[in-house]
């Protein structure tokens, strides 16, 4: 079925953008799945390789330590370093964030409570002096070595519960195979984001962990919207008069129809995040925003990609293993190898009324489970007999 979607283009063909706008692109999302899967696997493999070699760049929240921050428009990294070393802070890491923020970090967690408190105060005073402000204008964060781990553990707990809840929800609201495809797409996003973080050595903080959780939610959100359309379109697939469309082709059609929406959605999600990253973090030096922004940016890109190029082809792959859809594919191949519905006709088809299609989906569900149990017969008597019953 790989080359099945060369559409007969109607009237004057608009430009590529125009076609996306009108939902009449003819990109073969399902047929070229090998390409998409290969791209993803390469990215993930590189990420995992980097992870096993370089590991993560963990922030102080995971290692424990103290950071101080001050706004000092007229200072420099050298001055700041000298100032904090003068009060006895060994091996400080001094960074300039944004246009006038300075951040000093050091691993002083081995000090006892009182020593720690007094050194924290001394450094704050020194930094205030270097910046020409009162020490009350210096911020600081001290973290015990187990805190980041605690946050991450709780986040992982949340993640596992979320996985289970969402898989159940999609299984009930849509169907188990969609849940599986969405789940794999979500794991894909997780692996890609984690890989990119290791590869580029971006620092991991608890904020990053939060952001990654959000991404997984968003990736699913995106996938659900696409699958909703697939379900709409495939609702009547088995009984439609033009029953010469395979499930894969239907998915393809749905993807092309929702391409404008997918692109728009990804853009409106990424634009604010980009603003967070560039305006909030780079210009104004808010590190929390940077931590969020970066992870969200990487994850949203991956999420947008995976809903279109991973989740949907996977769904087609899973569904076409069902005997009735395999039979459909067989028939379609024999009858007319080059036919597809025009988007307009598909829209008509999809809009035939929500009630009927809900019924069709429900029937699909029970049938699927029954068929999986038995040996899949190659679309013969049994399947047909059932089909007749339905008429």
């Amino acid at each position: 079925m790989s080359d099945a979607t060369q559409t007969v283009t109607e009237t004057k063909t608009p430009g590529r953008l125009g076609r996306i706008y009108q939902g009449r692109t003819t990109i073969d999302f399902v047929g070229r799945k090998r390409t998409w899967f290969t791209i993803s696997i390469i990215i993930i493999v590189i990420g995992i390789a980097s992870l096993s070699i370089r590991g993560f760049n963990l922030g102080i929240d995971f290692k424990g330590g103290t950071t101080w921050q001050v706004i000092a428009p007229h200072s420099s990294v050298v001055d700041m370093t000298k100032a904090v070393q003068a009060v006895g802070l060994h091996n400080p890491i001094v960074q300039k964030l944004g246009s006038d923020h300075y951040q000093v970090s050091a691993d002083i967690k081995s000090l006892s409570g009182n020593q720690l408190t007094s050194l924290v105060n001394e450094v704050a005073k020194a930094m205030g002096k270097a910046a020409g402000v009162n020490s009350n204008a210096v911020s600081n964060t001290s973290v015990g070595p187990t805190w980041g781990g605690q946050i991450t553990n709780r986040a992982l707990e949340a993640l596992i519960v979320f996985f289970i809840a969402v898989t159940l929800y999609i299984s009930i609201r849509f169907e188990p195979k969609m849940a599986l495809a969405a789940f794999i797409a979500m794991i894909h996003d997780l692996l890609v984001t984690v890989g990119v973080y290791s590869l580029f050595g971006f620092q991991i903080t608890p904020d990053t962990v939060i952001a990654i959780l959000t991404i997984l939610g968003y990736s699913l959100y995106d996938t659900v919207v696409v699958f909703d359309r697939v379900r709409d379109n495939t609702g009547g697939i088995l009984k439609s008069s033009g029953g010469d469309m395979t499930y894969g082709e239907m998915v393809n059609l749905s993807m092309n129809q929702t391409l404008a929406r997918s692109i728009n959605t990804s853009l409106v999600a990424i634009l604010p995040v980009l603003a967070v990253l560039l305006v909030g973090a780079d210009l104004l030096g808010a590190t929390t925003l940077q931590n969020y922004g970066l992870a969200l940016f990487v994850g949203l890109m991956s999420g947008a990609y995976s809903s279109i190029f991973i989740a949907s082809p996977l769904l087609a792959l899973f569904k076409e293993r069902e005997p009735r859809f395999r039979e459909l594919a067989e028939r379609a191949r024999l009858r007319s190898p080059h036919a597809t519905l025009s988007p307009a006709a598909a829209a008509l088809l999809s809009g035939e009324g929500a009630q009927r299609q809900m019924r069709a989906t429900a029937a699909t569900g029970t049938r699927a489970t029954r068929n999986v149990a038995g040996t899949p017969s190659r679309g013969t008597i049994q399947a047909r007999a059932r089909k007749q019953k339905r008429r």
């Binding site: 946050i151 849509f174 699913l220 929406r261 604010p272 603003a275 030096g285 929390t288 922004g293 829209a347």
Partner: protein, 503 residues
């Protein structure tokens, strides 16, 4: 297919009501001067997360919260909160300028001091402080020395009743600043209003105590058993020797917890061998309080700071500006894009977002007035910024459906109804996933994550509400207005019906 989603009247009522409620609520909160309760990363301030050093029961942790609350409130800062998050205690004090000084006070494990009792005195309401906390000496006849008390070794009670020294009646109790180890102090006694004690310099600290537990005598009287550390044992013996047959006051946080007589039943001093017992007229509660005080300072468990954050007000302000700035820029970019893409329909998005924003701000402000919601911090701002994408997506899903319907040759009038029906299902399904994520994160995660999840969840709910009560009536009304060609919606490209339906 009678696909009327609602009568014209209902739609108008819904639309007008939504706008009125949203902007009315906004105006109301603004007139009341309510604003969001800013988190300390925006307002400046201090936050510490303490973890119990050893596993602690819920009752213990509740007590920790009570003690820390008293300590923080005793410092005279406003708006401080102490609460439990799982097994952790989170202390946050927003808006203080000298946060590091506050942190020092709060974080200190209160010190337990053993001081010899010099004499007793009464409480007088018209008390005056003494310069530098320097107290006059006790009168010789009031001194609670072993000689004056003359303990009867068979009963264990003093033979002499020593009167209260009137010289101290007009003097104020020693202030915390002057309550130093090396000073003589005048302090109130726990559970004995009307009596205060003049105590000498501390001879030992609570570090000598290893464990203290509540016990009962065979007769059922409550008492406290304690054991001493290796180095504490000889030190305690020294103190006991020095105050043999006299009283030693156990002071915690400026209050004498108990002032037991040392070894009343023996004629001469012998070593305690690292353990001892305090008896007296205890109740179970007062015995437990003393045991806790001796073992932990006033806390039932030792606390280890996990994460302590001090944010200066200047830095907080700059973060607030960065967060709001980023949000505004992001919002403008999104609006610009949707207007360019959807033209007239883009204006619907602008109006919708304005209504959402008004309602959201009003709700956040109102919540800020209560203590129900997490405070509004950078993580929360990020949650809301992320939700811009989800909110706008609901419009996009609808409008794309609309375009499909129109392209299939339906009239705009029918398209707006049918398009909404299918879009609504999608929006509900997708928002459910988003809400699921937010609720689970809020319930399970700790720290900043909760604020983030709360505001993400709130705006997701808002999205569902606005889609149904605002977007639906507005677009459907616009779609029904006028003839096909002059309809406001046909201005939006891609919505001209009849093009390329049957080639």
């Amino acid at each position: 297919m009678a696909q009327q989603v609602g009568s014209r009247r209902n739609l108008i009522v819904s639309l007008v009501l939504t706008i009125a409620i949203a902007f009315g609520a906004l105006a109301a909160t603004m007139t009341l001067g309510w604003g969001p309760k800013l988190g300390l990363d925006l307002a400046g301030g201090l936050s510490v997360v303490y973890k119990p050093a050893t596993p602690a029961s819920n009752a213990d942790m509740q007590e920790v919260v009570t003690v820390l609350s008293n300590r923080v409130n005793g410092l005279g800062v406003s708006g401080a909160t102490v609460n439990l998050q799982g097994k952790n205690v989170v202390v946050s004090v927003p808006g203080v300028t000298d946060a590091r000084a506050v942190l020092k006070e709060v974080g200190q494990t209160a010190q337990l001091l053993f001081r010899p009792v010099l004499c007793e005195t009464s409480v007088d309401k018209k008390t005056t402080p003494v310069a530098n906390g320097k107290l006059p000496a006790c009168g010789a006849q009031y001194l609670m020395t072993a000689a004056n008390l003359a303990v009867n070794t068979s009963t264990g009670n003093p033979t002499n009743q020593i009167p209260l020294d009137p010289a101290f009646a007009g003097i104020r109790s020693t202030s915390p600043q002057n309550d130093l180890k090396k000073n003589e102090v005048l302090l109130p006694v726990l559970g004995s209003p009307g009596v205060r004690l003049v105590l000498g310099p501390a001879q030992l600290t609570g570090k000598a105590v290893h464990k203290a537990q509540v016990g009962q005598t065979p007769a059922g009287a409550w008492l406290v058993n304690y054991t001493l550390t290796k180095s504490g044992s000889p030190a305690w013996d020294k103190v006991a020797q020095a105050n043999f047959h006299a009283e030693v006051g156990i002071e915690l946080d400026g209050v004498v917890q108990s002032a037991p007589l040392i070894l009343p039943n023996q004629a001469s001093f012998t070593s305690f061998n690292g353990q001892g017992q305090i008896s007296g007229s205890f109740t179970e509660g007062s015995a437990k309080t003393l045991a806790n005080a001796m073992e932990f300072g006033s806390l039932p468990v030792r606390l280890i700071p996990q994460d302590s954050v001090v944010v200066s007000p200047t830095l907080g302000h700059s973060s607030l500006v960065a967060g709001l700035g980023a949000g505004l820029v992001g919002l403008l970019l999104v609006l610009l894009y949707t207007i360019l893409y959807y033209r007239a329909l883009g204006l619907v998005i602008v109006l919708g977002l304005a209504t959402t924003a008004a309602l959201l701000w009003a709700i956040i402000s109102a919540l800020g007035h209560t203590s129900l919601a997490p405070s509004f911090d950078l993580a929360g701002i990020t949650g809301i910024i992320v939700s811009i994408g989800i909110t706008v997506d609901s419009y996009i899903v609808y409008f794309e459906r609309l375009k499909d319907e129109a392209r299939a040759g339906r009239s705009i009038r029918t398209s707006v109804d049918r398009g909404f029906k299918s879009a609504w299902r999608t929006v509900l399904a997708a928002d459910t996933v988003s809400l699921l994520a937010a609720v689970l994160l809020y319930l399970i995660a700790v720290g900043d994550v909760r604020g983030f999840a709360f505001f993400l969840g709130l705006s997701t709910v808002m999205d569902v509400v606005i889609t149904w009560y605002f977007t639906r009536p507005l677009v459907i009304l616009l779609g029904r207005r006028g003839s096909e060609s002059t309809s406001a919606l046909s201005m939006a490209a891609g919505l001209t019906p009849g093009v390329s339906v049957h080639e």
